[in-house]
């Protein structure tokens, strides 16, 4: 029956060998991320390297173990959009907090000078303690 749907199945099963290869690669990357950790890097790089390795590992799992490599189209789109929107939420929340009126965030180690020159107001009382 000719159906107006996307071709259902592309590519055929591969040998089990590539799964093992990916497994080895994942182990190596895990070791790598652990090793990198010991190099006390400066802040952004620390996070960046950890995330880069994690993304690489995730991509490997998604492409090979989860067969995204073989199945294209809508499934890939679903993955990409979900990841993109996750990044969107995280990103914009961070942008907000990073550019806020500083006292609207909890006090940070780095002392900040109010542009209007006022001293930091007394530490806010927080929620009234429960009676």
């Amino acid at each position: 029956m000719a159906h107006a749907t996307e071709s259902a199945h592309r590519g055929k099963a591969h040998g089990a060998g590539r799964y093992v290869a990916v497994w080895v690669a994942l182990l190596v990357l895990t070791a790598l991320t652990y090793a990198v950790r010991r190099y006390d890097m400066q802040e952004p790089w620390h996070l960046v390297s950890a995330l880069l390795i994690a993304v690489t590992k995730a991509t490997l799992v998604a492409l090979v173990f989860m067969h995204l490599w073989d199945h294209g189209g809508a499934t890939r789109l679903a993955v990409l959009t979900s990841v993109a929107f996750a990044a969107l939420l995280i990103g914009l929340v961070l942008v907000d907090n990073a550019t806020r009126f500083p006292y609207a965030n909890p006090p940070r180690a780095a002392s900040y000078q109010d542009p209007a020159g006022a001293p930091r107001p007394p530490a806010p009382a927080g929620r009234a303690p429960a009676h």
Partner: protein, 213 residues
């Protein structure tokens, strides 16, 4: 390809088996997308509080045992491999082999949960607990309780997923053993496997973000 098998698993509203398989897979991927966004809410909290309390988070992560996390990472990665191999076996029609591999996965999941349990136990004894239960005197900086709030929420939700995944895989192993799957029909193994891989994927991010700050 046994024709009678074909007839039983093809539902009436699908024109043919490949379309049905495609639909099932697409549905599963969409479900995984929702899982990603479910975790995103927590990752957002993580990102925000790590940004606000970067030093404290750095200090607090020293108190969770990296070696356990590392072991668990290896365990989960390996369990992902066994699931992938199980699907491979199911595709070749080797039901028993698939069942054995699934059982192995299950075992790895169990190891993961046991290790996690030890960790949790340690946190409970030392008072490294979320929010108002926090009672760990050694680290009293603002944000320390928040680290453990985030830690427990994220690993807790993840652990819940591991448990659900184990349930699904156990059921699949049973069916595989009975010989329900064939080269023509193995979609359930594929979907269950996808779910398990997602659980692994999330851990791949949780490990460096919580243990290796």
């Amino acid at each position: 390809m046994p024709p009678e098998g074909q007839a039983t698993f093809l539902q009436h509203h699908f024109p043919d088996a490949p379309t049905q398989e495609h639909a099932a897979r697409l549905g599963m991927w969409l479900f995984l997308a929702t899982e990603v966004l479910l975790f995103t809410a927590l990752f957002t909290g993580y990102a925000l509080y790590r940004y606000l309390f970067s030093e404290t988070f750095h200090a607090a992560s020293k108190y969770i045992e990296t070696s356990v996390g590392l072991t668990n990472t290896v365990v989960l990665i390996t369990s992902s491999l066994t699931v992938a191999l199980a699907l491979h076996a199911a595709r070749q029609g080797q039901g028993r082999r698939a069942a054995a591999l699934l059982a192995a996965t299950l075992a790895f999941g169990g190891v993961f949960m046991v290790l996690k349990g030890f960790e949790y136990h340690h946190h409970f004894v030392t008072g490294q607990l979320p929010g108002r239960f926090y009672a760990f005197a050694e680290l009293a900086a603002p944000g320390a309780a928040m680290f453990f709030t985030i830690y427990f929420l994220m690993t807790g939700l993840h652990g819940l997923h591991v448990l659900i995944g184990m349930g699904v895989l156990g059921w699949l192993a049973g069916r595989a053993w009975r010989g329900d799957f064939s080269p023509a029909y193995h979609t359930p193994v594929e979907l269950g496997g996808l779910y398990w891989h997602l659980v692994d994927l999330i851990w791949i991010f949780l490990f460096p973000l919580l243990y290796l700050i």
